[in-house]
């Protein structure tokens, strides 16, 4: 029957044609339907977990909604947690497009912040329009070089970039601790060793009318620019080829070293920016609080977003919302703080498992609509 239809070709003119608008919609919706379905499945599984604890899932989700998105304060809470995570996620997502699993974003954040804190003293004589850009670029550059070095180890010496990036993150944190407790320590910071506080005119403020600092805008711009870079430029195209098959890319004459180092360093630079904002907009000086774990949450986000910079934005807002709700859930439902981590774990596993579902559903593959079941 189907074979006859194909022979007569009636379907070519209909909206069921592989070239029709419905087909185009079907193809596009796979990338949304599968992760959203996986997310819902993860939430459903987490409901069972809550049942096992004797807690009501509906109350839980109502509280999460209220604390994360229910009021203007909730949105500001969520968005102020979003800012550093966007940039941290890019540190994982960009190298991942070239096939590198870089998980050392925490080190890049720490180093970016440390650079900002260290240089701020020397720049306090300059006007903020000069000093702030210099601090920002310096922080980003330091972190970019640090993470870029991991890519260099990988490319030139064959060192596993995952392990190297994680270990260099520990080194960065140790370096920061050493410097803020030693040479860079502000003598006035007795019980919490820190660099000297940034002069008031070097502090980065909030977005007017919001209780969220400018890092949010920079993070969103970073994601948009990264998306354009990867999806709409020849550099990005070349990077994706490297991600697909580095050997083939090399044979094609693509500049493998420049691509791998460049994209990884760019990712590191974004994470470094997150550190600069932590120091210039939140803490006011560099100290051990810089290692707050954003780099590790960034890994989770990048994987959930399948390393797509545009998808990083909604995924980050969702995860930041989960984190924003952690407190209210603890207080109202008497659940341990790890509850939100368990929730993140459930959604993470569900989305990873869903990776295997791509291409499995007929409804997203118009080419197969006319084939016999």
């Amino acid at each position: 029957m189907a074979a006859t239809d194909r022979a007569t070709g009636w379907w070519k003119e209909s909206r069921f044609s592989p070239d029709g608008w419905l087909a185009a919609l079907a193809r596009r919706s796979e990338a949304i339907a599968i992760p959203v379905g996986a997310l819902l499945a993860g939430l459903a599984a987490f409901s069972l977990f809550l049942f096992a604890l004797g807690k009501a899932p509906a109350e839980f989700y109502a509280l999460v909604y209220k604390a994360a998105f229910g009021t203007w304060f909730s949105w500001q809470n969520t968005l102020s947690r979003t800012a550093p995570l966007l940039l941290a996620a890019l540190c994982v997502a960009l190298p991942a497009r070239l096939g590198l699993v870089v998980i050392g974003g925490e080190g890049a954040i720490v180093l970016g912040g440390l650079t900002c804190g260290a240089l701020a003293g020397g720049l306090s004589g300059f006007h903020s329009t000069v000093a702030i850009p210099v601090l920002t670029v310096a922080g980003a550059a330091a972190a970019g070089i640090w993470v870029g070095a991991v890519a260099a180890l990988r490319h030139y010496r064959g060192v596993n970039e995952t392990i190297a990036s994680l270990l260099t993150a520990y080194i960065a944190i140790a370096l920061m601790n050493h410097l803020v407790e030693g040479p860079l320590r502000d003598p006035a910071s007795l019980n919490k060793p820190s660099t000297a506080p940034l002069a008031a005119h070097l502090r980065i403020g909030d977005i007017p009318g919001w209780d969220v600092h400018w890092g949010l805008i920079v993070g969103v711009l970073g994601c948009l620019l990264s998306w354009v870079l990867i999806e709409r430029t020849t550099w990005g195209f070349a990077a994706r080829i490297v991600g697909g098959n580095p050997r083939a890319a090399q044979i094609q004459g693509l500049p493998l070293a420049r691509l791998i180092l460049g994209f990884t360093a760019l990712g590191g630079a974004f994470a470094g920016l997150a550190g600069v904002f932590e120091v210039a907009a939140v803490h006011g000086s560099a100290n051990a609080s810089l290692a707050a774990g954003y780099g590790y949450t960034g890994i989770l986000i990048a994987f959930l977003a399948r390393h797509n910079p545009l998808a990083i934005i909604p995924v980050t807002i969702l995860l930041a919302g989960f984190e924003a709700s952690s407190g209210l859930v603890q207080r109202r439902m008497d659940l341990p703080d790890a509850t939100v981590l368990v929730l993140q774990g459930f959604t993470f596993v569900a989305i990873l498992v869903s990776e295997s579902l791509y291409g499995r559903f007929r409804m997203f593959a118009p080419e197969r609509w006319s084939l016999p079941r």
Binding site: N77, N191, H283, A324, Q330
Partner: protein
């Protein structure tokens, strides 16, 4: 009734049914606005860490038992924008009007950032950081002279040590910690001036692996009594007891971890301090912006002496404790040298427990084996 093999559709139906039932399990939300005083507590780590956070959580539990007060708590809140949002969330969602953000690093910039936005809310912080000319008037500081507790630990340890070598696992070489190390040794030297104390810094407030390594290293070096200043002493206590050492506690009562090996411990008495402060607010009074005290003022207390403590040690401990209860005790008496040979106090000079010079301590006294950098 027929049974069919499980298939994907059946599974989906079952999951949907489960999710549906879960939505029905709504519990009535607790009322938080019934004219009661709501007090919020925020901890940097888990509230059952046998240490810093548990000591505060015990204070919160005592407040919870008071009439006309409801308590909200959050644990594992990092010293970042997280704590700012947790404070605001407690104020906005729970109507909290008295907050105890307990970690040292919460003060600057986080409490200082949030407090001016909520002039009707009182922020109480555990450290001596508040300064009248610089900080908002709705912020207060309180702290206890817990070095005296370590001095008493030292007296018991001085009697109980066979090797004459004590061990101290310390987080960071900051004044608070150095004071505890020095006080511990000076207490022991009241018994025998030849006793030494070896110190190992782990570099972090909470780093279980390094704490265990440090404890083992001290035991290997012949130390037979070990104490510590890290956020959660559990690992140090258990490891030391397993190595056959006696232990002196810190922050909270660690007796349950090794009842036979536990000698005594320097504990915060937050239940006493917090109920007093909350009662002041209930009675319509004002908590002083700057408050501190020692044993006499009920700020600190000692764990019950363990079964191994000898009569001589008990007697010495009790006499010195009685001396401290009179107030104005001096653990630091001249002549006193640091362990690099510089003079700290000349003959006849003393540092009283209230002496401001103790708060910028940057040396280890003679007899302590270790360096501050």
């Amino acid at each position: 009734m027929t049974f069919t093999a499980p298939n994907r559709r059946g599974f989906l139906k079952a999951s949907a049914a489960l999710a549906g039932t879960s939505a029905l399990g709504v519990l009535p939300a607790a009322s938080f606005a019934d004219g009661k005083l709501t007090v919020g507590f925020i901890y940097v780590g888990p509230r059952d860490d046998f240490g810093y956070n548990q000591a505060h959580a015990e204070g919160a539990a005592a407040v919870k038992a008071m009439q006309g007060v409801s308590v909200v708590e959050e644990e594992n809140v990092s010293e970042s924008v997280d704590v700012q949002k947790s404070m605001e969330s407690m104020i906005n969602f729970d109507g909290a009007s008295l907050l105890f953000p307990t970690s040292f690093g919460y003060f600057d910039p986080h409490i200082l950032e949030v407090a001016p936005k909520f002039p009707e809310v009182r922020f109480q912080h555990a450290a001596g950081l508040w300064q009248a000319d610089m900080h908002p008037s709705n912020v207060g500081s309180y702290f206890g002279y817990i070095g005296l507790g370590q001095y008493l630990n030292g007296i018991v340890a001085g009697h109980m040590t066979a090797s004459g070598k004590l061990g101290f696992v310390a987080a960071k070489p900051i004044p608070q910690v150095l004071q505890n190390i020095n006080s511990f040794l000076l207490g022991a030297r009241q018994v025998n001036p030849a006793i030494t104390c070896q110190v190992i810094f782990t570099g972090e407030w909470s780093l279980a692996v390094k704490e265990a390594e440090a404890t083992n290293a001290l035991a290997d070096a012949g130390c037979d009594i070990i104490t510590c200043h890290v956020d959660g002493p559990k690992v140090v206590m258990e490891t030391a007891a397993a190595r056959g050492c006696f232990i002196c506690g810190y922050h909270a009562d660690q007796t349950p971890l090794a009842p036979g090996k536990y000698l005594t411990g320097a504990e915060w008495n937050w239940p006493g301090v917090y109920t007093r402060m909350v009662q002041t607010v209930i009675d319509g009074g004002t908590i002083p912006n700057f408050d501190r005290g020692g044993l006499a003022e009920g700020y600190i207390k000692m764990s019950p002496l363990g079964p191994a403590v000898t009569d001589a040690a008990r007697k010495h401990f009790e006499t010195t404790k009685a001396e401290m209860m009179k107030g104005g005790f001096a653990a630091y008496e001249g002549p006193l040298m640091d362990n690099k040979g510089s003079q700290i106090l000349g003959a006849g000079q003393v540092f009283l427990e209230t002496d401001i010079a103790l708060e910028s301590m940057d040396y280890l006294v003679e007899g302590v084996i270790g360096t501050t950098s």
